[in-house]
């Protein structure tokens, strides 16, 4: 009788200990390969690096973190399949992922149905507008990027521009957002061209823009390979007007592909890319410099804002876990919404029930590419 009780007590104690040791499962689906590889690859590396560091420091809530990451290759179908697997088979506690808008939007129904806290790493404002209960995001939205670009254009006296955009979800969303807010900055859009997925030559579209009278600047809404080719064609055609890109190209991969043609291109991007040149008084400097140094030391390659988005996503989730004190999904979700003043690589995050991106435009700096490197635009 006693031995049975002892056995029962021992197994109960063992079970408690076992569940206390059970890791916190971090799910992720990222575009590590494919057309959005320079988004997903640094994102995965960042998540791996920081899960390791957090575990080395003792984990979160006394438990280790376990990263379960899949490569969705920029494909919305694969993203859905992997998200389903993460939710149903891998039983993750939250998901940080969705490198592209298209993939993120494709999995939203699954997320909502499962009640899974999800922090997206994609750009379009449609992800958080209208606010979806379980969906948050870390990059600045495309509308904020448009606004930052228009502020810069207005300061330089530019009033008439041309747009060129690609076929992706982010491209189309940013284009729509820019067209929507242009009037607020006194900007008129004279031409609006589009290119397709996998297009290898955009001289036809740029030629039409070149021949549109009165265009003072050109804005390319896109990410991945397309903008690199547009940039090369831009130089080839000898178009002298200032050329703006979106934060979708904020990676050295873009500069490598576009080569010399990237010289002088302007884009809004997080301070992360110019971390060393920030003044010491800049509130972002500590966090962005710390991340930049750790990432570059570990992976021997340049940091990109996309890895920064993943860092922000993970840190927000960890903060929420600590606030909630458990991995209960509803509690974690509520905790994310209550995160205030958390400094990330993109800026200070202040979430609320009506704001699931939590950033304001101040974290976006206008950068210019000079000699193959990022500099703060004057």
């Amino acid at each position: 009788m006693l031995s049975r009780t002892l056995l029962a007590a021992a197994s109960l104690a063992f079970a408690c200990a076992a569940s206390a040791q059970e890791p916190i499962r971090v799910g992720a689906f990222l575009s590590v390969t494919g057309p959005a590889a320079f988004l997903g690859d640094p994102e995965q590396k960042t998540l791996e690096l920081y899960v390791e560091k957090l575990n080395a420091a003792g984990g979160v809530l006394g438990r280790k973190l376990q990263l379960i990451a899949y490569d969705s290759a920029g494909d919305a179908e694969k993203a859905r399949a992997f998200t389903k697997r993460l939710i149903e088979q891998d039983n993750v506690d939250f998901i940080v992922g969705g490198s592209t808008t298209g993939e993120t939007m494709a999995v939203v129904p699954l997320i909502e149905q499962a009640g899974m806290p999800f922090i997206s790493l994609a750009g379009a404002v449609v992800i958080v507008e209208p606010v979806k209960k379980w969906v948050f995001k870390t990059p600045h939205s495309d509308r904020q990027a448009c606004e930052r670009i228009f502020v810069d254009m207005k300061a330089r006296g530019t009033t008439k521009i041309a747009l060129i955009s690609g076929p992706g979800g982010f491209d189309k969303s940013m284009r729509a957002q820019c067209m929507g807010v242009a009037k607020n900055y006194g900007i008129e859009i004279l031409a609006d061209e589009a290119y397709g997925a996998g297009d290898t030559d955009m001289t036809a579209q740029l030629s039409k823009i070149k021949n549109t009278a009165g265009v003072q600047a050109v804005l390319n809404c896109g990410f991945g390979q397309g903008p690199a080719i547009v940039t090369k064609n831009y130089k080839q055609l000898g178009i002298s007007q200032p050329f703006y890109q979106s934060h979708g190209v904020a990676s050295k991969g873009y500069i490598q592909l576009a080569g010399d043609a990237a010289e002088g291109v302007r884009l809004p991007a997080a301070a992360l890319l110019v971390a060393e040149t920030l003044p010491d008084s800049d509130p972002q400097k500590k966090v962005v410099l710390g991340y930049k140094r750790e990432y570059e030391a570990r992976f021997k390659s340049d940091v990109s804002t996309f890895g920064g988005h993943a860092y922000d996503g993970l840190m927000i989730a960890v903060e929420a876990l600590k606030k909630a004190g458990s991995t209960d999904k509803a509690k974690v979700r509520d905790a994310i919404e209550s995160v205030r003043g958390l400094m990330g690589t993109a800026g200070a995050f202040n979430f609320s029930p009506t704001d699931h991106v939590g950033l304001d435009v101040s974290g976006l700096r206008m950068l210019e590419i000079r000699k193959g490197d990022w500099t703060l635009a004057k």
């Binding site: 590889a37 320079f38 290759a73 290119y195 290898t200 036809a204 690199a228 130089k235 080839q236």
Partner: protein, 292 residues
């Protein structure tokens, strides 16, 4: 306006030359075996990716290009030896399906041997654009056009002045008669696959500086080369060249004057139109369309 037209024409000719090289590859294999080799696009990919990886490893560009073309040729020979020859008694449709399977295999191998990222080759002679009557032309485009003209001339000499070339033509006209005359059809097939692979790889190396290369560019390029070959008349060399250039021009002018978002549509509309109205293509010779 006319400067813009010249721009579209120049772009169309450059892209068209690439399609022409790919279409020639289709034509050569089709002539030797009545097989439409749907792995043709993958040879283009192998040429570009191999050259890019050799350059990244530090080799000088000309050597990298040469090795890439040679490597693709070996892949073509291996494809023939391992996939097509063992099935040589099978109906042509079976062989075509085998080439589709081979293309999927080659794509998968490419993503493992290299990676899935986008790669660029340095331009052969710099990137300073040349001015031509208000339009600009990249020096690389001149390389593409020049190399295509040279290749076409060499091929003409090969098919009309060398014994192996004439043997290939003989097989395409009448396989039985050629065999009776002592021509080894097996060797002819091997040579035609190797030659087509080399042509595809050459196209890949030429276009990589302009439009980048990655593991999956073979699909679209193969399909467009196929459209060009159908347009010009499957199996006809001159038809392939005319079809390629025509397709490039139609695409460029269509993107410029009709709609830039639907550029790819033109190639596929052409396949449909050609199959419906001009089944023998512009050069009107072979009945390839029965197979399709």
């Amino acid at each position: 306006m006319s400067a813009q037209l010249v721009q579209f024409l120049l772009t169309g000719l450059t892209v068209g030359a690439i399609y022409a090289l790919v279409a020639l590859g289709f034509a050569i294999i089709y002539n030797a075996s009545h097989v439409i080799n749907f792995a043709q696009g993958e040879f283009v990919m192998i040429g570009g990716m191999a050259a890019a990886s050799f350059v990244e490893a530090g080799l000088p560009l000309p050597l990298a290009a040469l090795l890439a073309v040679a490597g693709a040729m070996l892949v073509g020979l291996a494809l023939e030896k391992l996939a097509v020859e063992p099935a040589r008694g099978a109906p042509v449709v079976t062989l075509i399906i085998i080439t589709i399977g081979a293309s999927i295999l080659l794509r998968g191998l490419a993503s493992l041997v290299w990676d899935k990222k986008i790669h660029a080759l340095p331009a052969f002679s710099g990137e300073t654009p040349l001015n031509l009557g208000g339009a600009t032309l990249l020096p690389q485009s001149l390389w593409v056009l020049g190399a295509t003209v040279l290749t076409v001339a060499l091929l003409w000499w090969f098919f009309n002045r060398t014994l192996t070339g004439k043997a290939i033509l003989a097989v395409s006209h009448n396989r039985l008669a050629a065999q009776l005359m002592g021509i080894s059809v097996r060797r002819v097939l091997l040579v035609s696959f190797g030659l087509s692979a080399a042509l595809g790889a050459l196209a890949g190396v030429l276009i990589a500086p302009i439009s980048f290369t990655s593991w999956d560019i073979g699909v679209m390029l193969g399909l467009k080369g196929f459209a060009a070959a159908i347009l010009g008349g499957m199996g006809s060399g001159p038809g392939a060249i005319v079809g390629g250039l025509a397709l490039g021009l139609i695409e460029s002018l269509g993107a410029g004057y009709v709609s830039s978002a639907y550029k790819d549509v033109f190639a596929f509309v052409i396949i449909l139109a050609a199959l419906i109205f001009l089944p023998d293509g512009l050069a009107g010779r072979r009945r390839a369309t029965e197979r399709v």
